[in-house]
């Protein structure tokens, strides 16, 4: 048995080495004991100016119709689009390059978008709607955009980029073709598009969640952060904002875990944390699997934590049933309506905001019942603020997706 021992020693040594390696870089490692070291946002993902701007935008009153948040804009700077006016918008082809429909949030949004397209087509404001789906593959999406440009058929191109930096050259190519380009959800590193549509942003989301925990928990309470993936800017911004907020508080952050949004993994990780000590609060960078996290507390026989999830219905229903202390930060799903509406406006030569910042308001306890009632027939993994109630396909298109 000489060989295995050598191997084990090797493996163990290696493990230790790797652990040691990572402790050299303080920002990389989740801090077991909490403390300030883990709560300094990574400079790569933290832009203080932008952070503060987003926090301020939460308080701003948006322009636009009261009951149509998808048409509202915060501090808009209107852009003239008369150069893009189309003679008969009813025959105009609108092309949409979608990153993917690989998660429930995108599925819900895409249905809303399709319904909005139907409504606009009936009104004769846009014509054919072409979609290509890149299945989360950046290279594929570059090809998709290229194909739209080369085909010459598109009178407007809508892009929901799969990754910010990598899609920049492709978006620039699309802009150069002279067709109006509309980017929404994740951004790109260029401002060549006619309008960039997005809710306030990741910092506001992360701060909404973290501020709620700071408010509701006693000083010294412990908080566990559950994150989906590293390296995705919209998610990194949420965490950076949370680090900033927690850093100024007296909460003890136990650490963060990457879960890939997988319920089994979330439940396992939370159970393990519960074995090692109390967890009073849970911060999530997206609501996927919030129910699994709560079940881990239930199965361990521990009281539910104060939790921030998302406006996803299975979480909101559990919130109501169990009387949780919770908040549902929102990454406004209704933003999927806006790009097609914007395309209609651009083709008609109407002004649009150059950066169209949509409102993004968390669902709080006092609104919980209202949103649950409005979405009573909707399936789990549907998003409460999807904003499609006035569209022709409501409610079948969403309930029977």
């Amino acid at each position: 048995m000489r060989v295995p021992r050598v191997l084990f020693a090797g493996a163990a040594g290696l493990t230790l080495m790797l652990t040691a390696c990572t402790t050299d870089a303080p920002d990389d490692s989740p801090e077991g004991g909490g403390g300030a070291a883990g709560l300094t946002p990574d400079a790569e993902w933290f832009d203080r100016e932008e952070f503060e701007a987003q926090l301020a935008q939460r308080e701003a009153t948006p322009e636009g119709p009261e009951d149509e948040p998808w048409m509202q804009a915060i501090n808009p700077e209107w852009t003239d689009t008369s150069a893009f006016v189309h003679d008969s918008p009813g025959d105009a082809t609108v092309c949409f390059s979608n990153a993917s429909v690989s998660n429930p949030w995108r599925v819900t949004g895409f249905i809303t978008m399709e319904q909005q397209v139907e409504a606009l087509q009936e009104e004769g404001r846009i014509g054919e709607f072409r979609v290509s789906d890149a299945a989360d593959d950046d290279n594929q999406q570059i090809s998709d955009i290229q194909a739209f440009v080369d085909s010459g058929d598109c009178d407007a191109i809508i892009i929901s980029p799969s990754t910010t930096a990598t899609l920049t050259p492709a978006v620039e190519t699309a802009c150069e073709s002279g067709v109006p380009v509309i980017v929404f959800d994740r951004g790109v590193n260029t401002d060549c598009m006619v309008t960039f549509i997005h809710p306030i942003g990741g910092y506001a989301f992360g701060a909404d969640a973290a501020e709620f925990l700071v408010e509701e928990l006693e000083p010294g309470s412990t908080v566990l952060a559950l994150r989906i993936l590293p390296g995705v800017d919209v998610l990194e911004h949420r965490w950076a904002a949370a680090q900033e907020v927690f850093g100024d508080s007296e909460l003890e952050v136990l650490g963060y875990e990457f879960t890939e949004g997988d319920g089994a993994r979330i439940k396992d990780l939370v159970s393990q944390h519960l074995q090692r000590g109390e967890v009073d609060g849970v911060w999530m960078d997206a609501g996927d699997g919030a129910v699994a996290a709560l079940e881990a507390f239930e199965d361990a026989g521990q009281p539910y934590p104060v939790i921030s999830g998302e406006d996803e219905l299975s979480f909101m229903r559990m919130w109501k049933e169990e009387g949780l202390t919770a908040v549902a930060p929102v990454y406004s799903n209704f933003q999927w309506r806006t790009p097609v509406l914007a395309a209609g406006m651009i083709l008609a030569g109407e002004e649009v905001p150059a950066e169209w910042v949509l409102p993004q308001e968390p669902v709080r306890e006092d609104e919980l019942d209202e949103y649950l009632e409005r979405n009573a027939d909707m399936p789990a993994l549907h998003y409460a603020k999807f904003g499609g109630e006035d569209l022709p396909g409501y409610p079948e298109a969403w309930t029977e997706r």
């Binding site: 995108r106 949004g261 393990q272 361990a300 993994l381």
Partner: protein, 360 residues
């Protein structure tokens, strides 16, 4: 590729009947013991990090989490020991959970019929994998890669991309519930009971004539065919076993954590990792099902350990990668050292063309 031993050590007329015995014997001597030792070591390190881990409830929580992988590993073992691969299990688990949620839709009365339907679906997937691989002669890595894509796409197409519906409370009992109020342990999870029963059944199965035939087929299918084994049937049954066990794992995983869009992702590679960590040789014919079970427990224990060491989760894949390479390299080394007495244990099979020719 793999260096081959000198031809002098090769006994061309090795009787096929010996293989299951030698495989079992070899595993008894080395593979199972090694992985058991590795598992014990990981547990010891966990204990030093977290002494309360062995205090009953945490251990039971571990068992509950590990049970699905154990079951998947048993299924994967059946296929691997017969000389094939099953890459479709991750997709199958995901598909089954999503299908279950959609069909049950929260109705308690639908639970049993839907579980029946899931088993039937698993059976069909296994049959397709097995028959396409054996009768149509498509390499199993391609067959199961194909079914992986098909299941992944079909289920998402059917549900519009994200799962809908909900699982019933009774569906969730096997994965989430257990025998309550046991002294010291708290709750004995049903998942543990299911995994134990299946593991014992699998050990017995591998000792039965069918089990020996399966190992013999993986060891040398030509020799097995000569001795009257219907190779296609044995292998197809192995695929069916894998798919059915994946279905059971799906019931447990769905029960454990409910429905999320990502359920099942990457499980095929984790299951294969578990099996090879148990010293089971890809290519078939060697390794025990007990070692595969221990391999699965080791993988889960390692994940737990990584977590307890506060190893950044981003670096965990690196450690996992190094460990599986080391484990397989070690197994290959052991196999290599024993070659003189186990002449046919070679990844390459120079004997086949000869036999093939002689057959014509």
């Amino acid at each position: 590729m793999t260096p081959t031993p000198s031809p002098g050590t090769r006994a061309p007329q090795d009787p096929p009947a010996r293989s299951p015995w030698s495989a079992l014997a070899a595993a008894g001597r080395g593979g199972t013991a090694t992985v058991a030792l590795l598992l014990a070591l990981v547990f010891v390190v966990i204990a030093t990090q977290n002494p309360s881990f062995f205090e009953g409830p945490p251990l039971m929580a571990f068992a509950k989490k590990a049970a699905p992988l154990v079951i998947l590993a048993i299924g994967q073992y059946l296929v691997i020991v017969s000389g094939e691969f099953d890459l479709s299990v991750g997709s199958l688990v995901g598909a089954q959970v999503v299908v279950a949620a959609r069909l049950i839709d929260g109705e308690e009365s639908n639970t049993l019929p839907v579980i029946g339907l899931m088993l039937a679906f698993g059976l069909v997937v296994g049959l397709v994998n097995g028959l396409v691989t054996t009768l149509l002669r498509v390499p199993s890595i391609i067959t199961t890669l194909g079914t992986m894509l098909i299941l992944f796409g079909a289920v998402r197409y059917w549900t519009g991309g994200a799962p809908t519906g909900a699982l019933s409370e009774s569906f969730r009992v096997p994965g989430r519930g257990g025998i309550e109020g046991v002294p010291l342990l708290g709750q004995i999870p049903w998942a543990l009971v299911v995994a134990l029963v299946l593991a014992v059944a699998a050990v017995l199965l591998m000792r039965s004539p069918w089990g020996r035939t399966l190992v013999a087929t993986g060891d040398n299918d030509l020799a097995a065919a000569f001795s009257g084994v219907r190779v296609w049937r044995v292998r197809t049954l192995a695929f069916v076993g894998s798919s059915l066990l994946a279905t059971v794992a799906a019931v447990l995983i769905g029960g454990f954590a409910g429905v999320t869009a990502q359920v099942g992702e990457g499980l095929e590679f984790t299951a294969i990792t578990a099996v090879v960590l148990g010293g089971v040789v890809l290519g078939g014919g060697r390794g025990t099902v007990l070692a595969a079970v221990l391999g699965a427990l080791t993988v889960e224990a390692l994940f737990t350990l990584f977590n307890q060491l506060y190893l950044p989760s981003t670096i965990q894949p690196s450690v996992q990668g190094l460990i599986i390479i080391a484990a397989v390299a070690y197994a290959a080394r052991r196999g290599g050292l024993r070659l003189p007495e186990r002449p046919r244990r070679r990844p390459d099979h120079p004997a086949e063309p000869e036999l093939g020719t002689s057959r014509r």
